[in-house]
């Protein structure tokens, strides 16, 4: 049985830290390179005795710390100075002092996470969790109250007899030979088998799908709805309070909306012509407003000069000239009635023109009329 096994290392047990560090120095002197020292707790000065090179872990921390720093800085610069620039508290878009705490934290975070991960997976070679020394008598002793050296068989200077002689000359308390388990040598990590990877993939899909369905479909809740459901009557809703069942109520009789002037002369343009008086005095502002509105709403049919010769002539029944004697003699109120209610084919302009604008248009029309029909006095 024993002969089938492959030798991993020769180990020696010592009683005190001083003995083991002395022995370590001797082992180094003999030129062995593939060996390890085991103790229940860290021994000061052992790095020196083993002639270990300085740890490379510091470089991992440095590189990842610096990249975390640069990444944090670039991210914040891009977010707050490039992609979505908002001035906050009167500070410049790129306010370096405000970034320092975050840059510091990210630097520390990425350096420490990278250090731990590098330590576990690069330096400790996880998930390689089996080792020939595990479960041996030697390991039980050096993890409680003894100190041990293990020289590996793969060391180029390794030779069973000479190592044993060296250990004996160093007055080792006990000497063990450690063998590989056959299984350890032939073992393949199950983690890389296609079956396992498929299984992992299926589990990932099922669990994420289940989680998605449960959280987003089964257990979905409106985040908060206090503003949606209020104890108040909405428009068009049935009311239980009023006997007629309407939620919306009529205003009190005689109520007039702000800025609204009722028109009393519907269907009676002649009465309007007698009773309505133009309230807008003639002024530059009023005439300019009238011109703008006339050019927009009246000129398409009546023409810019109210002569009835517009660009639409021929497509509709021809609009009349407003320079006829009839229109000239109409009172402002009579024209107001036409603008408000429409006449023949002309529709009402009450929705397009406010009351004041209608009067302004009439004032401007008077100017146009006067221009073609000037009085003697105007020429003087």
């Amino acid at each position: 049985m024993m002969s089938e096994k492959i030798l991993y290392s020769f180990t020696a047990i010592f009683d005190s830290p001083d003995e083991v560090s002395h022995a370590t120095e001797k082992v180094v002197e003999q030129g062995y390179t593939k060996f390890d020292v085991h103790s229940p707790y860290p021994l000061h000065g052992m790095d020196d005795a083993m002639k270990l090179p300085p740890s490379k872990l510091g470089y991992v921390a440095l590189v990842f710390g610096l990249s975390g720093m640069v990444a944090a800085l670039l991210t914040m610069w891009w977010i707050s100075a490039v992609d979505y620039p908002i001035v906050i508290g009167g500070k410049p878009l790129f306010s370096f002092p405000a970034y320092i705490p975050i840059v510091f934290e990210i630097t520390v975070l990425s350096a420490s996470i990278a250090t731990v991960l590098a330590m576990l997976f690069v330096f400790f070679k996880l998930p390689n969790n089996s080792h020939p020394l595990h479960g041996t008598e030697y390991m039980k002793k050096v993890s409680s109250d003894k100190y041990g050296i293990s020289i590996q068989a793969e060391d180029p200077k390794f030779d069973e007899a000479s190592v044993r002689k060296l250990f004996e000359s160093l007055q080792a308390r006990e000497i063990y030979s450690i063998y590989w388990d056959n299984e350890e040598l032939t073992h393949k990590h199950k983690i890389l088998e296609p079956k396992f990877l498929t299984f992992l993939f299926v589990v990932a899909i099922i669990s994420s799908g289940t989680a998605y369905f449960t959280l987003n479909k089964l257990m979905y809740m409106i985040p908060f709805n206090w503003m949606m459901d209020q104890p108040k009557q909405s428009a068009q809703q049935k009311s239980l309070v009023f006997s007629d069942g309407f939620g919306m109520r009529q205003p009190v009789a005689g109520t007039v909306a702000r800025g609204y002037m009722p028109y009393e002369f519907k269907g009676k343009p002649d009465v309007a012509g007698e009773k309505l008086i133009n309230p807008i005095p003639i002024s530059i502002e009023s005439l300019k407003l009238g011109q703008v509105k006339f050019d927009i709403y009246c000129s398409p049919c009546h023409g810019y000069h109210a002569e009835g010769n517009s660009r639409l002539r021929g497509q509709f029944p021809n609009p009349p000239s407003l320079h006829s004697e009839k229109v000239r003699n109409w009172s402002d109120g009579r024209i107001f009635a036409v603008l408000t209610e429409g006449q023949n084919i002309m529709p009402s302009y009450a929705t397009q023109l406010s009351v004041d604008e209608r009067w302004a248009v009439i004032n401007y029309l008077r100017v146009l009329q006067r221009a073609l029909d000037a009085k003697e006095t105007d020429l003087q």
Partner: protein, 392 residues
């Protein structure tokens, strides 16, 4: 492993050092006296820098010694005497604060507040000449008392080798901690913050504390490493023992940056005129370059220089970095003080050189005086042998 195996031979420091110390002291003293004759106000401002600098090294070293006792530090046992010698600078502190007390009206304008200045009138119960002098003297007496008791026990141990004396010193050190915390904070407020009496910063005491510890550590490092390398201390000290000096210097460099930045960030962010005025005074004109220089000398150079593990154990590197840090502490105090004297324009001339030269001479001479009277190594300390054998 008993302490009797330690071999220590007391050696005198070379006479050259004493000559250097004497020359520095004389030159510095002449400049200071001339300065007080020519421009008393400006010299008084420099006196404040000098006093706070010397107090930093003296009181900071005592803090360093006390914290070593409290933490039961082993690595520092062979070096502890250097800290004790430097803390004896406490004794000569009056040399620097008495001339100032005579010139208070020139530098502290809270001594004569205008009646319309409501803030200063309301601060008068704390900021008045009598109470100020009482505080200065009481603080000094407290420091002196703790210095006396701690070093007395330490000296006694050289003869008696009584381990109980270490225990006694641990108790005294524990008492010293709150006293140190309060006295150093109020010293910072009294001497430095009250130069701009309308301004306030709640972290100011900690800011001065961080500089104090750095200055004491740097001064100790500058003495420890040449002494140890040239064999004035005990034999067999490994460079691993220097590692802790380097690590502490590095740690407190970061601590200073952390505190200084905390003070700056809050004031910068809140942007209140009554607070920002203090930083603006240090950013206007060519003071801007002094402020940037502070960042470089106090943080960037020591940080990069002490970042790696080997650099914390390299004697040459440590001496250079400790010198930079000690210089940066003086520079920092100059940065805190001088903008109150000359706004917008950096003033630097021969008057500014007087106090640093004089203080360098004083430190060297006091150190030589102590080395003549006492052992450079606490040979009775029970931790000494373990301290010499210290390995990382």
């Amino acid at each position: 492993m008993s302490s009797s195996t330690v071999e220590y031979q007391k050696k005198e420091l070379p006479a050259k050092v004493k000559t250097v110390g004497m020359t520095l002291l004389l030159v510095g003293l002449i400049i200071v006296v001339l300065g007080y004759i020519v421009n008393p106000t400006r010299t008084a401002y420099n006196n404040i820098i000098g006093f706070t600098f010397l107090a930093s090294i003296g009181v900071g070293s005592l803090f360093f010694v006390a914290i070593e006792y409290l933490a039961g530090a082993v690595w520092s046992a062979p070096f502890r005497r250097v800290g004790e010698f430097l803390s004896s600078l406490i004794i000569i502190l009056p040399l620097l604060f008495i001339p100032l007390l005579l010139n208070m009206n020139n530098v502290f304008h809270w001594t004569h507040p205008a009646p319309a200045d409501k803030i200063l009138v309301e601060k008068a119960p704390y900021l008045n000449v009598n109470f100020f002098i009482i505080r200065v003297v009481v603080f000094w007496l407290l420091w002196l008392a703790f210095y006396y008791f701690i070093t007395k026990n330490s000296r006694k141990q050289d003869q008696t080798k009584d381990q109980l004396l270490t225990k006694k010193n641990i108790k005294i050190s524990a008492l010293f901690m709150p006293v140190f915390a309060l006295t150093i904070s109020f010293t910072a407020i009294d001497w430095l913050m009250s130069l701009a009496p309308h301004w306030f910063s709640t972290i100011f005491g900690v800011y001065y504390f961080s500089g104090t510890v750095l200055a004491a550590l740097a001064a100790a490092t500058i003495f420890i490493i040449p002494l140890s390398e040239k064999g004035y201390l005990v034999k067999g000290i490994h460079t691993d023992s220097y590692y802790s000096l380097g690590a502490l210097l590095f740690a407190f460099t970061n601590f200073w940056a952390y505190i200084a930045f905390s003070q700056f960030l809050l004031i910068w962010y809140a942007n209140l005129p009554e607070e920002t005025i203090w930083f603006l005074a240090r950013w206007e004109g060519n003071w801007k370059f002094v402020t940037i220089g502070l960042l470089v000398f106090r943080f960037l150079i020591p940080y990069v220089g002490l970042l790696s593990q080997p650099s914390k154990m390299n004697p040459k590197r440590l001496i250079i970095m400790a010198s930079v840090i000690l210089f940066a502490h003086y520079f920092d105090l100059y940065w805190l003080t001088a903008p109150n004297f000359s706004k917008g324009e950096v003033t630097f001339g021969w008057i500014e050189l007087g106090f640093p030269i004089m203080i360098a001479g004083l430190i060297i001479l006091v150190f030589i005086y102590k080395t003549k009277k006492e052992n450079l190594v606490p040979i009775g300390d029970p931790k000494l042998k373990r301290g010499i054998d210290f390995r990382l």
